[in-house]
């Protein structure tokens, strides 16, 4: 298994694909029914790479779905976590302890968290959008990042953090009442899990540590422990 130090963009994964033509009435109905969620995800995914600032992009939320109060709170919490993740990872990338390749990867992961925060924001009205990082979580993460003395220590910090975010999103999958929320969270969760795997591999951790057969909610962050403000 050859692993090159430079990672070219996979043309297959990054290809913008047009939706397949409806194959049957049921498929057309299915597509129509998931239209709101898919449109929200698709619009953000297509432009996600160009987004560098969460707050500026969150003003794009228009006609958000009618979510329950519990779902709104859940999405706000996840937004605050994602923004904290973005900022914390940028802090890590700002340290001069990672190789240039890993530094580039960590910056990419930070952008991914920012895009995820924006995606979650499309589910909320402008006034309900969270534009600030979860304060307690970011303070904790920054403390750990700045306390890491070398690359191995820093990768461990980031791996643990990504696993916490992954667990938090999986927990949210079991709490969200709306399919729109679960659809958006699931799309982000898969990527957060991938980031944990990449960091676990880079950290040289045993594969069983970062590739369990089933995702876990162990270590999930909670709004009680990490309030959004």
């Amino acid at each position: 298994m050859s692993m090159s130090p430079r990672h070219p963009v996979d043309p297959v994964d990054d290809r913008a694909e047009a939706p397949a033509a409806p194959a049957s009435p049921s498929r057309r109905r299915f597509v129509r029914n998931v239209g709101v969620g898919a449109a929200a995800l698709g619009a953000v995914a297509a432009t996600g790479a160009a987004l560098s600032d969460v707050a500026s992009a969150q003003t794009t939320a228009t006609n958000p779905p009618d979510l329950s109060a519990a779902d709104i709170s859940l999405v706000q919490f996840l937004q605050s976590v994602s923004i904290a993740a973005q900022k914390g990872l940028l802090t890590a990338a700002g340290r001069s302890v990672l190789t240039s390749t890993l530094n580039e990867e960590v910056r990419t992961f930070a952008r991914h968290h920012a895009t995820q925060a924006v995606t979650l924001g499309t589910l909320l009205s402008k006034e309900n959008n969270i534009t600030a990082a979860n304060p307690k979580l970011l303070a904790q993460l920054n403390g750990q990042v700045n306390g890491a003395s070398d690359q191995a220590a820093l990768l461990n910090v980031l791996l643990t953090f990504e696993e916490q975010v992954s667990a938090t999103m999986l927990q949210a999958m079991g709490e969200a009442q709306s399919f729109l929320v679960s659809g958006a969270v699931g799309s982000a969760l898969a990527v957060v899990g991938q980031q944990a795997a990449a960091l676990g591999s880079a950290a040289g951790k045993p594969i069983g540590d970062w590739l369990p057969a089933f995702g876990s909610t162990n270590g999930a962050l909670t709004p009680a422990a990490f309030p959004t403000s």
Partner: protein
Amino acid sequence: MTTDRNHEMSSDEVRRQLRSAQAEHEATMSDWKGSLDELLDPESGAGADEKAAFLGVPNRRTFMVGGVVLAGGALLAACAKKKTPQVPESGALPPVPSSTTTTAPGSAATDKVLLQTAQSIEILAIDTYQKAIDSGLLTDQTAKDVAKLFQSQHQDHSDALAEAITSAGGKAVTARNQYLADNVVDKAVAALTDQKSVLVLARDIENLAAQTYVQAGGVFTTPGLRKTGMSIGETEARHITVLNLALGYAPVPLALMPTSKAIDPKGYVS
């Protein structure tokens, strides 16, 4: 095996973890199956509220107040009685009522189709990894060990899905997804030439599987099923990252997992 300084996976370590992970998986499976058996068995005595809490749907009081997630109630009802075993066949999802764009797209019947389809994809993955292992094209020991690890995890997923399907009154799937086998995989297996081609095919299958679970996460009618589905889908997304690394691609190229490569509805198993 060539590795870079940023991502190391030793063959010994993979084998060690394969052994320990199997023990861990068995424990996890045991817990999950036990919970399902206890709560979904009609003769268990578990009340509707307990079942609702497990599945993540509102309990009776919340249900009446909120007046939402009707399909969750339908699933509970489905769990309470035996149904005629279903013969797996490909096809579209059961029709759902005409709706506005914010109406949930799923139903209890849809849940079952998605679970059965997911299991058929897991069986396809298990079968394809076996063909890859047997092909002799995986020349690198770590690649072989990773293929075995992934195959064992797909087996865990298939077992878990079989349990969920059976608990919901359906019949577990025993055959690989025929639509994907006929239209994609068998041709690709026949065209394999070297280790890289095997890894590319593996990644394609993992992509299809992970994206199908992500899509299902927005269709399943109960939070419990969404969570269960993504507890599997997340692991398959991690498989993609390992294969991306092995192929020399960016480990995590996208910020959001798309669903454009999820299984075509023609491949649904109902």
